[in-house]
């Protein structure tokens, strides 16, 4: 039996006969998924409240990686300071963009919103080239995480383990913010009826700004965390933004849990798919997307849109 499987897919045979290998692939799936979750959560949050599909989210991620490079490699700051600086820098950029540009388009049609966010992609892509040039850079792992950790079953890179842990931490933090704080209640109210919220005397524009800033900070932070294994380089945002859209659409646009589950599914499907059918790596993520769209067009954790416009 196993020989038959080996003929069809050597990767699948290894998965079935070597539990260590299967375990490593599971860890690969989780760590990749968690890094993507941090970024996708920001995208989903922004859409959930602002109802804007922000194509520039990928370029924010790229900026995060570049800022990380500058702060940690050029100025020699510790790794985590670099990651916080990346989040902070993107927060500032987002504040500026929201106040000057986004504010003009909340009431505009979707096409206008897409055009604006796409314009930001092009402009920020060129700004990055002016600041950092076109070279690819390399960011070192933090010294304490450059090696591997013994998990009993097998050794696994410490840095990737950290990614597996930081994803759930961010999930819990965001969940706590949304469910347990006043800001969270206002935000949830704003997703349901912004006019009513404004009529009740809540400063809705401030809610919008804060959501956009926090969502963008997540992109910057995610880019900083990705930079040691995904070198900062022009165009690094292009594949990432597609992955993120797959995740948030599978999970349901605007749903935090959806992004989390979507990111995990993406990691699992990509990694195990690549092992089993190495010549068709790209197909699996989109198959996942297709199946979800056929069965639940609003995503696994999303809510169907009530009625027409």
């Amino acid at each position: 039996m196993i020989d038959l499987i080996r003929d069809l897919s050597p990767g699948l045979a290894t998965l079935l006969t070597n539990p260590q290998f299967a375990f490593i692939q599971l860890m690969n799936s989780i760590s990749q998924g968690m890094n993507l979750f941090i970024i996708a959560a920001g995208l989903s949050l922004i859409f959930g409240v602002l109802k804007v599909i922000n194509f520039a989210h990928g370029v924010f991620y790229m900026f995060g990686a570049y800022v990380m490079y500058s702060v940690s490699q050029e100025f020699g700051a510790p790794f985590w300071l670099g990651a916080l600086a990346a989040a902070g820098a993107l927060g500032l950029i987002a504040l500026l963009i929201e106040r000057t540009l986004f504010r003009q388009i909340y009431e505009a049609e979707h096409l206008m919103q897409l055009l604006l966010t796409f314009a930001i992609v092009l402009i920020m892509g060129d700004v990055a080239k002016i600041i950092w040039g076109t070279d690819q850079y390399s960011v070192s792992y933090p010294a304490s995480m450059s090696g591997a950790t013994d998990l009993g079953v097998t050794f696994y890179p410490t840095y990737r383990l950290m990614l597996c842990l930081i994803g759930p931490v961010i999930l819990i933090l965001l969940y706590w913010f949304a469910e347990r704080t006043r800001w969270g209640r206002m935000t949830r109210a704003a997703t349901q009826d912004r006019e009513m919220l404004a009529a009740l005397g809540v400063n809705v524009p401030v809610i919008y700004t804060s959501v956009f800033v926090i969502g963008s900070m997540l992109a910057g932070f995610g880019g900083a965390l990705a930079s040691p294994f995904s070198s900062p380089v022009p165009g690094m945002d292009a594949t990432l933004i597609v992955d993120c859209f797959v995740i948030v659409i599978v999970g349901g646009l605007g749903s935090l849990w959806g992004s989390f589950v979507g990111a995990l599914l993406y990691g699992l499907v990509f990694n195990f798919g690549s092992v089993i059918f190495p010549n068709a790596q790209d197909i699996f993520a989109f198959m996942l997307l297709l199946i979800v769209l056929l069965i639940r067009p609003w995503g696994l954790f999303g809510k169907p849109e009530a009625g027409g416009h």
């Binding site: 690819q136 390399s138 090696g147 022009p234 690094m236 690549s274 190495p278 010549n279």
Partner: protein, 390 residues
Amino acid sequence: MKRIIFSAVASTALLAASGVSAQEIRVGALYPTSGGGAIYGGPAMEGHNMAVEEINAAGGINGRMLVTVARDTKLNPATAASAAKEMITKDKVDVIIGGLSSAVGLAVSEVARQEGVIYIATIPKTIQLTTTKLHPYVFRTASHTDFEGDAMAQLVKQSGGTKVCDIQPDYAYGHDLAAGLKAGLARHAPEVKVVADLRPKLGATDYNVFITQIMGAGCDVVTSGLWGSNFVNFAQQASPFGLFNQIKAYISGGEVASHEIAGKMGDDYPPNVISNTYELWYDHSVPGHQEFQEKVAARSGTKETAMWPVLAYIGVQFYAEAVRKSGGTNSDANVKALEGMTLMTPVGERTINPADHQANTGQFWGPMVKREGFAYKVMHPVTYIPAEIK
């Protein structure tokens, strides 16, 4: 739309006014100068401009000046093909020089064939360009995947490894390099087995799934053509697994020995890497190289220079010599002139084989090691592996 028509009319008028006369030689340059490819296309364009300026400063060719018409390929074959077509029909270029990425090279070559205009491929390496897709108007001054694969096979033999894991980007270059390597192994080291063939897509960001397969395959040598940021990402992800320490050698095509990779990676550059490059700013074994390198350094404002300028420079050198020899810009006459032409370039003598239009472009190969006086790993010793398949 109006604007496009207007600019088309305007540029035609301009062409007429300036009189695209027999006086100037119009050279089309095709490199990616925006987006991800700009890392390579930018420096290549510098080399191109440097060659053109030098020729013009020396009085042009038979008194005729070179004029560059540059367009951006965006690293995209379709964009490159339409840019090539426009250059020929609208800008009336006499030749197209450049191309980066094998996919772009094949697309531009096809346009050159249809239009009967010479295309000199300075960077694309896929073997198809000068074999199955060969036509009278395409020439290549870059190396190709059979030469590169053969050199890698020789190095596998030298490393003493017997089990090879091969990981290649999933597009024309990677597939052809894998084939070149296998053919080379059959010639030089028939005892060596390729135990894993892995094909991550070009530009993939997560290599863990492939790295762990290599770790599990029990190979003692890894061969690869992952280039540019693909190599950087692969190396950064493989190092924590200890991959580079557990193998005899990581033998890599794709020029990851070049300054632009090694310099940027610094201490993160992994151990046991043996790789190649067309040019090294610190190696002046070829006469005239030092002078060339200093000029590039002066242009770029850095002592250390990238490998890309020399590739574009050589393309212009060859075309200029062809025009000098044939006395004009007639494509068919210049095809004849280029066939069998020998030139001294900043990285050695090159001859174009009249049979397949391929220059005998070998590369510098060697282990990447730490040396005194350098801030990052450099190639030492440097060996030139000539372009020949025995």
